[in-house]
């Protein structure tokens, strides 16, 4: 099966080829390849899944079975910043639901959704092991602990501001 590759994605597929080349000789590397593919593309659309299935000679059903099984894989595009609200027990008893509610209200989206400007995605995660700091959220890799709902607008604002600055910087360059 020949897969149509969009022009602007050519570079990304070349990157993916290198990943596949590196891991395909070893057994059991499907999850690792998909993790790398998600890093490259940001998410795993069906085109990428069928490309991987084709190159590894693994049925697409197996590939999709793995993608849909694990919660860290996403078939939908994600925002630039993924907000993970920890819903582990320690965070739950320390009021993480209120934190989630505040973030949802601030961004006008619900858990699992992405803002229209593709800046934020809200997700719920099960324990990141920072229970001593409950309640906790992570934004991409950064951990924020000992939160109360009133901290949320300020935290979100720093990301919006950095992003705006970056956008202006790019415009200036252009």
């Amino acid at each position: 099966m020949e897969i149509e590759i969009k022009k602007n994605n050519k570079e990304k597929y070349m990157q993916l080829d290198r990943v596949i080349e590196r891991y395909k000789q070893q057994e059991g590397m499907l999850i690792r390849i998909l993790q790398k593919a998600q890093e490259i593309f940001g998410h795993l659309p069906i085109e990428v899944q069928s490309y991987v299935s084709d190159r590894l000679d693994i049925p697409i059903s197996t590939v999709n079975g793995v993608v849909s099984f694990y919660s860290l894989f996403s078939e939908e595009p994600q925002g630039k910043y993924t907000i993970n609200v920890c819903m582990g027990t320690a965070c739950y008893v320390k009021g993480s639901q209120e934190i989630l509610k505040t973030i949802e209200e601030e961004l006008h989206i619900r858990e699992g959704e992405t803002t229209l400007d593709k800046l934020f995605t809200i997700k719920v995660t099960r324990c990141i092991g920072a229970c001593g700091l409950a309640p906790v959220i992570t934004i991409n890799e950064k951990v924020y602990g000992r939160l109360s709902p009133s901290d949320i607008p300020g935290i979100l604002h720093t990301y919006i501001k950095t992003n705006k600055k970056a956008a202006i910087g790019e415009e200036v360059k252009a």
Binding site: E27, I31, R32, T62, T89, V93, K94, R126, G132, A134
Partner: protein
């Protein structure tokens, strides 16, 4: 870092003695006074302290020392978790063992100026005991630490996890080197582990020596060693901290396991949610390879062993060993019926030995100090210590390690510092989603595998969530079942459908729509799911419900009969009310109420909420400037 391969046991011993001088300062060695380096500052770099910017503090310390030309006199190191996460960032200054809490960037100058230059202690950064009101300077005097006994965490907060030479300096890899040197027979290793009585720390509590013996007994052209670092129990983070603070102890134990059962390949299966742990493990493996402690012909012997990392992708069920094996092979992590056990047919159908991180961390020290040393710690059937993660409504949240047989009261009140805000203790949940809630009347039980099982909970991986009067036990049961139901893989019917039905009943009760006969149905259903599920997830998922039904039935009845939630948590059963005394009649609540349920006259208190209209969104509670609105 310049690391070259070590070829013999003698060379390792040499490296050990030469490098141990360099870190003897941390053991309080005052003989260094004549040396150039006078202080070691250890900065906690676990996930907890990193999130409170301990890395920035460390970098600033290094920068400022250089600026003041003190960088020969004072060395700064990264270290693993001290366990005192509540008061992070934590730093320790040696040789005098001073522990400073909540060290911010603004404190760096003062530490250098006052402590380092003038030897003055910064009182404001010391831990103040809430019991005696006294400042406690020495780490060994602090309430939180002095009832602990650190075996699995022995190197966390002591060595730099990113420098293999420090691990070697504290005696690391010497047991392995000795075994390879003496060609210790596998059976001998198994016997000492069996004699030590070490049991699996991942939850099951199976005798580790027996597990090794079984894996040793099966023949195979290829065998594997696995490490389960898929710490999925919400509220448990000991495995993460061990990997972050002392990754080499796990690696050494896995190499010994490989040597013992005859495996030449190992995998550590670790959660992708733990980026720092993964990074430290990668560095550690890389360094061990450079030193010739991993790879072909380890330490010049004819034994070869390689180690790789496999990242999880977010599935709780992968903590179950047959599911974990599937996931390591790159497939959906669905469990298989046992037997065959992994020891017989595991990874790619080959004999496989699988242990938990904390179990592995115990092994090098047991083999070094001998089984007789280990059997003297703990209770009759549970030997050694256990690491617990304290979280929830407790003052000192963090990571602790105590001998088996320590009472819950000691853990919660002496080490944990009691309940937050002086509230009333209600229950402690142990064992994560597989465990149960232990009520106040049982605070004096001595914790070990058996005693926890006797009261309807379990050891699990060691998460301890403390709950107070503001936590609703029905809601907690619902929370755990929601978790189990979400994480159920769908392979077997009792778990995937059974947990769904249990969850529906619990949701009904928390919404005030439960009936008394639901309680019997709930109990029967729970017992059925326990009996008939395929793997540990389903077999233990009903435990939180059964234990709350046993000890907190009155709360269930209050939800069903009186339609009230005594703890004030379950939204549907609560009323939002305005306190007559506190209301200042500013009118903000009435303006922001989305359904116009609040009426009143400006400046004429009190305002009133019309319950038949109110949707309990809580907006007014958040916006009230004088906190006059609350749920009841």
């Amino acid at each position: 870092m310049n690391l070259s391969p070590i070829k013999t046991y003698g060379a390792l011993k040499e490296l050990r003695s030469s490098f141990s001088n360099q870190i003897s300062i941390r053991a309080g060695d005052k003989s260094v006074e004549n040396e150039i380096t006078k202080y070691h500052i250890l900065v906690c770099s676990g996930t907890g302290c990193t999130s409170t910017e301990s890395n920035e503090v460390r970098k600033k310390l290094e920068k400022e020392l250089k600026k003041r030309n003190l960088d020969d006199k004072v060395k700064v190191f990264k270290t693993g978790c001290f366990g005192f996460c509540k008061l992070g960032p934590i730093i320790a200054i040696h040789p005098e063992h001073t522990l400073y809490c909540k060290v911010g960037l603004e404190n760096v100058d003062e530490i250098l100026e006052r402590h380092i230059k003038h030897g003055e202690i910064l009182k404001e950064l010391l831990y103040k005991s809430p019991k005696t009101g006294q400042y406690q300077r020495n780490i060994n005097d602090i309430d939180f630490f002095n009832s602990q006994r650190r075996i699995a965490l022995r190197n966390c907060g002591v060595i730099n996890p990113e420098d293999i030479r420090e691990y070697i300096a504290v005696g690391g890899y010497s047991v392995l080197a000795q075994m390879l040197n003496n060609k210790t027979p596998a059976q001998e290793i198994v016997e000492s582990l069996k004699k030590s009585g070490l049991r699996g720390r991942g939850g099951g509590g199976y005798l580790t020596g027996k597990k090794w013996e079984l894996a040793l007994s099966y023949e195979g052209d290829k065998k594997y060693v696995l490490c389960n670092a898929d710490e999925g129990d919400p509220g448990a983070f000991m495995d993460r901290s061990i990997l972050e603070g002392d990754p080499h102890s796990v690696i050494e134990a896995m190499i010994i396991a490989g040597y013992c059962i005859g495996a030449d390949q190992g995998y550590v299966y670790v959660r992708a949610e733990y980026p720092i742990a993964v990074e430290r493990l990668e560095i550690a493996i890389e360094q061990a390879k450079k030193m010739g402690l991993l790879g072909n012909n380890i330490l010049g012997s004819d034994f070869s062993f390689d180690l790789d990392i496999r990242l999880g992708a977010g599935a709780f069920v992968c903590g179950e060993e047959t599911a974990l094996i599937k996931s390591v092979m790159g497939f959906r992590g669905e469990p298989n019926p046992r037997p065959p056990f992994p020891a017989e047919a595991g990874l790619w159908e080959k004999p496989t030995l699988n242990n938990n991180v904390e179990t592995y961390a115990n092994i090098p020290i047991i083999l070094q100090k001998g089984a007789d040393w280990f059997v003297n710690i703990g209770t009759e059937k549970s030997k050694g210590t256990k690491v617990f993660a304290l979280a929830g409504q407790i003052n000192n949240t963090g990571l602790i390690e105590v001998p088996m047989g320590t009472s819950l009261r000691t853990i919660i009140y002496d080490i944990g510092g009691g309940i937050h805000d002086n509230k009333e203790f209600k229950a402690v949940q142990t064992g994560g989603p597989s465990g149960g809630c232990i009520p106040k009347s049982m605070l004096d039980i001595k914790i070990d595998f058996e005693s926890l099982a006797d009261v309807g909970s379990m050891m699990g991986s060691g998460g301890m969530i403390v709950m107070d009067e503001t936590d609703c036990m029905v809601d907690i049961a619902r929370f755990y079942l929601e978790f189990a139901q979400h994480e159920s893989c769908g392979k077997c019917v009792p778990c995937s459908i059974g947990t769904k039905r249990i969850l529906e009943i619990l949701e009904r009760i928390t919404k005030g729509k439960g009936k008394m006969e639901d309680l019997q149905i709930l109990e029967d259903l729970c017992l059925d799911v326990k009996d008939s599920s395929l793997c540990g997830l389903g077999q233990t998922a009903p435990n939180p419900v059964l234990s709350t039904l046993q000890y907190f039935k009155d709360e269930y009845i209050a939800h069903i009969k009186d339609k009230t939630c005594p703890a004030g948590v379950c939204n549907s059963l609560l009323k939002v009310v305005i306190s007559d005394e506190k209301c200042i009649a500013c009118g903000i609540c009435a303006r922001i109420c989305p359904v116009n349920a609040i009426t009143g006259e400006h400046k004429k208190p009190p305002f009133k909420i019309h319950q038949e209209v109110c949707i309990k969104c809580g907006n007014c509670i958040q916006k009230c400037p004088v906190d006059a609105i609350y749920k009841r």
